[in-house]
Every structure is written in structure tokens, then in C-alpha cells.
Amino acid sequence: MSATYELTIKPRKGWQPIDLKELWLFRELLGFLVWRDIKVRYKQTILGGLWAILQPLIGTIIFGVMFSKVAPIKTTAPYILFVYAGLVPWTFFANSLSMSSNSLIGSEQMIRKTYLPRVFLPLGAILALVLDMLIGFALMSVLLVYYHYPVSAALLWLPALMLGCFFVAAGMGLTLSALNVRYRDVKYVVPFFTQMLFFLTPVIYPLSSAPPKLKVLLALNPMAGMIEGFRHVILGSAMAGDLMWTSAASATLLFIAGLFMFHRMERTFADVI
């Protein structure tokens, strides 16, 4: 940085633009935080990185037995593939909410004693989970081979869908983490909220099986479009285009709103944490 670098510190009120230049200057820090979260996540566990696969896999086995043997749900693809394709992004989403919402209060010292773009703390926690999602999808390919399930070029949309998932998770995660600094209630609300959302999102059932009136309501949840999208590109299951675009738009809005919300609440973090 040159000597002409000048910074003005003054009270900030209301909504403020986000300083992208500064985020860029600190980009290496975000890298280090993601790297730290990945390194530390499964430290002192016996199974280590295997947990990245086990979390969706165990769910798949349980739901697989439940809904293909006990109370069958009709799906175009084998139910195991169907539910696994939904559980990988869902696990990412659910873990993102719990990790990011606690990321700030878990870094209290950092907030009270140093200046850094605080938005990197929840974002880093979520980005670190992207690796788990990638590992989860890697196993998906094994399952696809095992089931001799054909895939199409639509698979190329996978990165875009993952970005969409990240937007939803980050949009909610940023808001929740900022609220958690002031109201510790958030800590108790998040697991409960995630569980509710699990049933309101077509993870273990296809959106098509929901009654049409409810569908509109379910479609409001951007994760619904994302998960349906994953199934569409991986398993070739049918999906309504407008649902996808609605979800993509609401995911992006959610992310931007989360960023601004966070930026607005960030000012008092050091004083109230």
C-alpha cells in the first residue's frame, strides 16, 4: 500500500455500502480462515474427514430403508440416489447455518481485539464446508456408477447450483451470526429452525408429490429450488424452470440482503459481544 493511502474513521449510521476494495485487500485472510476451519474441523476425531461422507450417507441409509421399504415414496430415480442427491446439499446448508451462526461469538477475542473484515468469519466457516459438499458429490459419482445410472451434460450446472446453495446459506448465516452477537437466543433457535426447514424442503420427498397449493409455499424456500435443481442435473428428474429461476433470484437477494444486514450490525459487535 502506498503512503498516500488514507483512511477516514467516523461514526456510521444506517445502511452503508460494502467496501469491496477492502475485502479484496484482505482476501488472503479469508483463505487462511477457510483453511483453518478445514484443518480444525475433524481434529481429534477418529474418523476424521470421513465424517464429510458419513453425515449424508447415514441419513441416506435411514431414509432409504424408511421410504423405499417401509413407506415407499415414488421417485423417478432409485430412492437411494434421490435422497442422497438431496442430503448432500442439505447437509451443507444445515451445517453452514450452525457453523456460521456461532462463528462470531466463537471468535470473541478476534472481534474485540483486532480489526478485520468480520464478514469473513461466517463466510469462511461456510466456504470451509464447501469441501465437504464436494466430497459428498464425489461419493455420489461412485453411487451413480454402482447403479449404472446415466448422467447428462446438464451436470455442468453443478457449480452454479453449488454457488446458489452458498448464497442461501450465506444469506441466512450472515444474518443469524450478526443477530447471535446481540441475542444469544439465536443459538437455540438455529437447530430448531433447521429441523423445521428440513421438512419444508423437498429433501426426502420430491416437490411433485406435494399438493399444488402447498407447492407455491414450498417454492418460496430457495433451498427447494436448489435441491430440485441438483436432482435435475444429476439424476435428470423433471423440474419446473420458473421454480429454478425464482430460487436463483431469491438466493441472490438473500445473499445481498445478508451482506448489508451484517454490515449494518457489524459496527456494534466489539461493544456488545
Partner: protein
């Protein structure tokens, strides 16, 4: 040239009763909203009255030139740390603005963001990045950081297995290699053992002499004196003195008297002191303490500083032989030294009666920093006539006694000493 840091009317208000508000629950916030639904302010942002708030920093303006080393001095709660937090952008000011010109690094704590599960090596990178260093910068300083901390063997051990000494050494070492144009430092020198503190101090003065702009807060007045050129004294959120560091320390000691010392008086009433053994009649009346410049000394004296004690007493019967003394004990009761008027070769021997005053001048009090008990006594005709045990306490503060900022912590006295290394005559044959 424009100043490196331009502070303009900065104030910071904190709400009182924040404890309750900090962890305020939704219920409270929501019920507030329900009671007054038309309030435009959002949930939990009800405005509280002025009486429920206090100003941690009030209307502070200060210009710091490039290359200047400024110390902020003040008692606890004077607003030093809040000001540093505002300059380092950790918290927003309530009023005013600050312009900072140049790359700034702040060091309000060492080891911020250390992760116990990560190895020493990994924490160097993580902590370095948190302090604002780039990876390339850390790469280039890595070896230096490791050797400064002296943890070479443990680089690949998780820091949770480090001894607390090693942990602190590593943490400080990373911080010490931060090399911004403007450095903000809060009380981080008080880490590690004495030998390491000495090393840190050396590193700090290196940073200061590299013509960086440094803003420094420390309770270690010795460090302030040796590192800083300028001192700013804060009291109750405002600036009360701004000048050369030496004068600032002097001002602070005299007027604010260290922590809690402000309430102490330099005049000790001896007439009705509880420290007098019952067998004595109260001859001693008053003890007055001054520093070298005859300004009142309120219980704090810098190590090696001058002390003047004025002892006022009564002689009920005329006598020619009388002496007063003043003695210093450690809190543990160990007598350190005594100043006795009988040690004075040219004392008067004429007959005296009534009110008398002895003045004892100690040009340099060579006690190591700490708290001391002061005893005062009067001997008449070589016999004890009166004495007061623990008449007052004296706090000896750290000072730059040796001109290096370093003071011993063991022993009782500061010894003036000179050292030289003899010239090495022959090269060692290999």
C-alpha cells in the same frame, strides 16, 4: 506535511447497564416494540437517556506526525484503550472523525486468533494474516519469527501442548515482526519472563527508531520513557496534558498519581496516627513529602527519583540532642534503608524547644519498583522518644533508571553500575 494520524473531536459513548442489554433476549426487545409499535427505530435499539450513558472518550483532538512515537498515559478508565480501539477501527466513534495516512497495524493483544489445535507453524501464518500481513511477507519473516521466539523444535506441535511461556513468546514474536507504517500498541510488553521482556523491548525500540509512527499505551512508565518522545495524558476521557514523554509522566505522577493515588495526600498527619506504640507521647506532628522540584508527592515516586521529607514535631522541654529518621520497609517487613539525621555531619546542636522541622533530602531513592512502608521516628538524647510505624505507603514506580527501559525485578536496590567488555587481544586459534 500532513499528520499520520489526525484525531478530530473524537467521542465515544457507552450505554450503562449494558450488561443487561448485551444479552437482551428477543422477548425483551419484542415487548419493547409492542409497547411502542410506532417507534421507527428497529428492535432493541430504544434510545436511552443521557443519564444512562457515559463518555469513555470525550472530544479528543490530537495530531500525530509521521515518525512520532506517542504514549498515551492515564489511570484505568481514562479512555486510553477506547481511543486505541477507535483508531484501530474495532469500534466506531460516537462523534468526530479520524484520518489515518499510511498502512496501519494494531496490536491490542498478542496471540489473537491462535488456534490451540493448530501447529506452531500454522498459527504463525494464521495470526500473521489476522494482524494484516500478507502470505509473502510472513514467508520472508518466518525464520526470523521462529528464532526470535526460540521455539524451533516445536514448530510442528499443536500450540495447545505449548507451555504458557512458549505460547506467549511465539505470539509476541509474530506481533513484533509486524511492520506497518503506523503501529498501535496496547500494553503487550508485559509478557513472558524478564529476559524475554527485555528482548521485546529491544524489538519495540527498533520499531520506534525505524521512523515509524507509533501510538503506545503502557502502564510500564519505564518503557514509555525510553520508547516514546511524546506523552499524552488522558483523564476521564479527555486530554489533560500533551508534551515531551518525560514531562507527561511527571504530570501524571503528580496530578493523577498512578492508579488510585490521586486521592492520597502528600501530608501525613502523625499526631493521631494509629501506628504509634502506646508508650510514646505524640511528639511527631506531620510528615510532608515532596519530589525533587518541591512539588507535592502523592505516594508515588519513580525509581531513582528524588524525595524530600519534611518532618514536623514538638519538643516540650528544651534539649540540644535530638534526631529524626525515616525508614523504608518492604511490605514483608524487611527494612531496606533508613535516613537518619545523625548521619548528617553538620547538624546544629543549639538548644531548641517548641515546634521544630527537619527536612530530609534524598537525591535518588534507589528502591526497585514496588510498595513500601514508611516509618518515621524521633530520638531525643539518644533515646527513642516517638515513632510511627507504617505512617504512610510509598509506591515506587518503574522508571528509566538505567536509560535502557529495563529494571531488575529481584533484590531490593537499584545499583548504579558501569560495565565494559575487555578488548579481545588474540583471535582464537582454530
Amino acid at each position: 506535511m500532513q499528520p499520520a494520524i489526525e484525531i478530530n473531536g473524537i467521542s465515544k459513548r457507552y450505554r450503562l447497564g449494558e450488561g443487561a442489554q448485551m444479552y437482551a433476549s428477543f422477548r425483551e426487545a419484542l415487548s419493547g416494540k409492542l409497547k411502542n409499535p410506532w417507534k421507527t427505530k428497529g428492535i432493541g435499539r430504544q434510545r436511552r437517556g443521557e443519564k444512562n450513558s457515559f463518555w469513555a472518550v470525550k472530544n479528543v483532538s490530537l495530531n500525530i506526525a509521521k515518525g512520532e512515537t506517542v504514549a498515551l498515559i492515564g489511570s484505568n478508565g481514562a479512555g486510553k484503550s477506547t481511543l486505541l480501539k477507535i483508531i484501530s477501527r474495532i469500534t466506531d466513534p460516537t462523534e468526530g472523525y479520524i484520518k489515518v495516512r499510511g498502512r496501519m497495524g494494531s496490536l491490542l493483544e498478542v496471540g489473537t486468533g491462535f488456534h490451540p489445535e493448530l501447529k506452531g507453524r500454522e498459527n504463525i501464518y494464521l495470526n500473521g494474516a489476522i494482524l494484516g500481513m500478507h502470505k509473502a511477507e510472513i514467508d520472508s519473516k518466518f525464520d526470523e519469527i521462529v528464532s526470535f521466539a526460540g521455539i524451533g523444535k516445536f514448530l510442528d506441535t499443536p500450540v495447545k501442548r505449548y507451555s504458557s511461556g512458549m505460547y506467549v513468546r511465539l505470539a509476541f514474536s509474530i506481533a513484533a515482526h509486524l511492520d506497518p507504517e503506523i503501529l498501535i500498541v496496547d500494553e503487550v510488553l508485559a509478557v513472558g519472563d524478564v529476559a524475554f521482556q527485555k528482548k521485546c523491548l529491544g524489538k519495540m525500540s527498533e520499531a520506534c527508531s525505524r521512523a515509524r509512527t507509533v501510538v503506545f499505551v503502557s502502564h510500564n512508565l519505564a518503557a514509555v520513557e525510553s520508547l516514546c518522545s511524546r506523552g499524552v495524558v488522558l483523564h476521564q476521557g479527555g486530554i489533560v496534558f500533551d508534551g515531551p514523554a518525560k514531562d507527561a509522566i511527571q504530570f501524571y505522577l503528580e496530578n493523577l498519581g498512578g492508579d488510585g493515588g490521586a486521592s492520597r495526600s502528600n501530608i501525613v498527619d502523625l499526631a493521631s496516627s494509629p501506628g504509634r506504640p502506646p508508650k510514646f507521647r505524640p511528639h511527631l506532628k506531620k510528615l510532608e513529602l515532596f519530589n525533587g522540584d518541591d512539588r507535592p508527592l502523592r505516594g508515588d515516586v519513580p525509581a531513582g527519583g528524588a524525595l524530600k521529607a519534611v518532618i514536623r514535631f514538638d519538643l516540650d522541654t528544651p534539649c540540644t540532642s535530638f534526631d529524626a529518621w525515616i525508614a523504608f520497609d518492604t511490605l514483608g517487613g524487611q527494612r531496606v534503608c533508613t535516613a537518619h539525621s545523625s548521619y548528617e555531619p553538620d547538624r546544629e546542636h543549639e538548644e531548641r524547644v517548641g515546634q521544630q522541622t527537619f527536612t530530609c533530602e534524598i537525591p535518588s531513592l534507589p528502591l526497585i519498583p514496588g510498595e513500601y512502608k514508611v516509618h518515621v521516628g524521633l530520638d531525643i538524647a539518644s533515646g527513642e522518644a516517638d515513632w510511627i510505624e507504617d505512617a504512610t505507603r510509598l509506591t515506587v514506580l518503574k522508571s528509566d533508571f538505567y536509560g535502557t527501559g529495563i529494571l531488575p525485578t529481584k533484590g531490593l536496590l537499584l545499583l548504579r553500575n558501569r560495565w565494559s567488555l575487555e578488548y579481545q587481544r588474540e583471535a582464537v586459534a582454530v
